[in-house]
């Protein structure tokens, strides 16, 4: 679905220091209850053996997918893909709090706000965008890891960051043959051989270690921009989810029209 704007998050993995300023800023800006969060920093853990160690932090939130599974399952029509901004939003006046979308989101990026009986998640701080401001997480990011902007505008910060990136990674999930086509682009990440991805629901989202509450292991295939599908077993919700990570070569993006100068 082509939208007027194509808002996306670009996250420079090499610059995330896991300070969690984005998380606190988001909680305040969006009145997120104390036992919930809209935004995570996934700590992939200390990898390797002393003293040859690596550690990577992968911030994430709603991926504002181009093919959002949450929209498919929403019975009240409250969750929608905005035709202007391209953002996936929840009309909380229309939301009945059934939670189907919470289960359907393969990234576990939604939660049921029990105080208000509605589903909540990252809305890219649309209230701030309207005033010409950046989302709260982006504005305060101490490491300048988080960038946000309109990919339809080749001069937006997000487009520029993608153009200058060494490598680009998206976390794609395929459900019933449809790719989520997410709009968080991870750039300049060390080679991630293993990723912990969120898959099911029903557990507290704020984990004590800043990592995701569940850690099913997926193998990310060898580097290369060819799409590789890794089958996943043991998942609920009656859908066969497939997780795929895609590394784009820079040439791939340069070949796309909107990035032409």
């Amino acid at each position: 679905m082509a939208t007027k704007k194509h808002y996306a998050f670009v996250i420079d993995v090499s610059r995330c220091i896991d300070c969690r300023s984005c998380q606190v800023a988001c909680s305040v800006e969006n009145n997120v209850p104390m036992n919930n969060t809209r935004i995570w920093v996934n700590d992939l853990g200390v990898q390797g053996e002393f003293p040859k160690l690596e550690r990577t932090f992968l911030p994430y939130n709603c991926m504002h997918c181009d093919q959002p599974p949450c929209v498919q399952v929403c019975v009240s029509g409250a969750t929608f893909k905005d035709k202007v901004s391209g953002l996936v939003l929840v009309d909380q006046d229309a939301c009945i709090g059934c939670g189907f979308c919470v289960d359907a989101c393969p990234y576990n990026a939604r939660y049921l706000n029990k105080e208000r009986g509605v589903v909540d998640k990252c809305n890219a701080c649309v209230q701030r965008l309207d005033q010409g401001m950046q989302p709260a997480c982006v504005a305060t990011c101490v490491g300048k890891s988080r960038v946000f902007g309109d990919l339809n505008d080749p001069e937006s910060e997000a487009s520029v960051a993608l153009r200058n990136a060494h490598d680009i990674l998206r976390l794609e999930v395929e459900t019933n043959g449809v790719d989520t086509d997410p709009n968080i682009f991870y750039i300049n990440s060390p080679m991630m051989k293993e990723l912990n991805l969120p898959i099911s629901t029903g557990q507290p989202l704020v984990s004590q270690m800043g990592v995701l509450p569940r850690d099913p292991k997926y193998t990310i295939a060898e580097i290369g921009w060819k799409k590789v599908l890794v089958p996943l077993v043991g998942l609920g919700i009656g859908a066969s989810f497939l997780v795929q990570a895609t590394y784009f070569g820079k040439q791939l993006l340069e070949g796309e029209k909107e990035f032409d100068e």
Partner: protein
Amino acid sequence: MTRTQLTRREFLKLGGAATGALAAAQFVAPRVAQAARSLIDDPNGDGYIPTMCEMCVWRCGVRARVKDSRVVKLEGNPEHPHSHGRLCARGQSGLMNTYDPNRVLTPLIREGKRGEGLFRKASWEEALDLTAKSMLKIKDQYGPEAMVFSSTHNLSQVQFENLLNGFGSPNYGTQRSLCFNAMIVANLMTYGMEEPNRDYSQLKYIILTGRNLTEAISTSETTDLMDALARGTKVIYIDPRFTKTASKATEWCPIAPGTDLAFHLALINTILAEDRWNKEFVANYTEGFDLLVPAVKDYTPEWAAPITGIDAEVIRRIAREFSDASPYALAHNGWRTSNFINSFATERAIAILNAIMGNWGVTMLPAAAEDSSALGKPPQPAYPRISAARLDGVPWKYPFVPLKLGIFQQLRDAILDGKPYQAHGWFIARQNPVLSLPDRKRTLEAMGKMDIIVTTDIILNDTSWYSDVILPESSYLERYDPLVPIGDKAWLRQPVIEPVGNTLSALMIYKELGKRLGLSDYFQYTDDEDYLRQQLAPTGITLEETRLHGYASLSVSEAADVMHWNTPSNKIEIYSATLKKSNFDPLPTWQEPPLPKPGSFYLLSGKAGQHTQFGTQNNQLLHKYQDVPRLWMNPKAAEQLSLRDWDWVEVTSEVGNVKVQLNVTQAIRPDSVYMTPGFGHLSKGLTTAYGVGASSSVLHVTYVDPISGGQALSQTFVSVKKA
């Protein structure tokens, strides 16, 4: 005043509920925040008000969003040089300090035993009268020196100093000896200034010695480092722990604890042996280079390798890379540098390494002093002459420790031992020595010797919990502080909302107390705004204008001469004749710190990015996103002790023991364990932080460096067993 005994539960009810009833009390701050909001171009007074953060001492510029008389969001102020529009997690959480359900909203006077937590509400009149009466009684009976005053690094400290100096006590406790005395004194000895500025704009190579910038965050400097990394600056990170900074660095050297000095001596040795120093710079601007050459000739990389655990070839390569990159290189002098007996010599070696490579003027610049000369100040008389010696031994026993730094742990011990005289009262402003000082048992014993303990704070931190009178301060979003000059601007902290309860600014607490102590002449301002107007008077800028912008522009005189050092020789002193005169090493030489006995570990200290020292753990937003505080241990060590991740363990040092959960991680050397300080609170008045984690201060063994007065926080050895 009703004599209500407050249990913890009742006390907690105070938050909010008491506000209305107390608003009519005598010292109600004028509705100043409303005035600030009227400056906003919004009929409801909603919008952004510029002010300054106080979640740590870095003082970022803030823009506070206010709606319906509440702070709803804090943003970094893009104009402020310390934040550039960004705030760290602590800065973002700042409004939760103000709205903490555990806020102390009215003066409290102790009813039960110390530490029992029974207080009754009091009026400001009663609390201040009681405080002044107790202080004057001590002065009459024992002399003014029997009152100890302590407070650290806040913008109202100038008036705090008026209180103690006007009262006539020499006993001034800051927390700096627990933090950066070694670095400050070493820089004073070498460069004649406390801390040169760092400039990352042209930086190509940096050695961070334990400077964990991504977890001990100084917002603008942390961003500067990440910018430098992104443009290809090589970052060498030296630390026994694989911190988050280590994971970002180009190269991590897991150095043996206590051996940073050997590493830096070997760098200097290599640079001299390979004829790599900056000869022109050394000849023109330094003193005593010739004496350095023989002093370091034995400190080869081969000598340092077995000591530090870093290969000789690695040390040699780093020395070459560093000198090749100079003057676009920097050996960072760290921040909290209270680690081992040799921390002062380490800091001297770092200062000298930069000097011989001529990094001065490129990556190091003269410290931008907080120069208040362009601002006014209320008039005040000279201080009374103080004849009593300071309890902390400065300067009569420790001549090189600046008076304004002092030696806090020595002060505590002198209180406890009653030598050279017995102190009887302690006034503590916005500090938590119960948790910060090493050997908590001794701190509590020292407090037991006091006739009166008075604290100012915004919540019932542990020290308030053990005190007799609590004077509740307005939070940093509710009050003014004196202007602070940074470069060509004087920055303002101003109230963005009215005080939540019956609290006062530090400026007014000190003034009201001073009045009762007969010290009104030291507090010649009618209120906070009058103080600021007197500061602004010479600039011709109005307070209203300053409030609107958040700063007043200053006409600053010509930039100081970069190539000038306020040392006895007016040069950078590689060799220090001053140190020599007092029979200390005039050049850094290797001092071997004590080693742990077999079966025990170094207890390392450090920081997590979500907290500041000992005062933010009750902030619910930070609590929400903090890690569970655990003891780090390498899997090899854990295996030997048959310990597993998340096990409860008992950690024992020669002065105390704590129980804490274990974090088995590769991110630490097998000879060390680590705890983040600031947890294990004793105060049950902290309902968020109480019961979380354990306090490393319980375990820390007290040490005083004879030159800098610094504590040695990593020179505590512990054994660990299953609890």
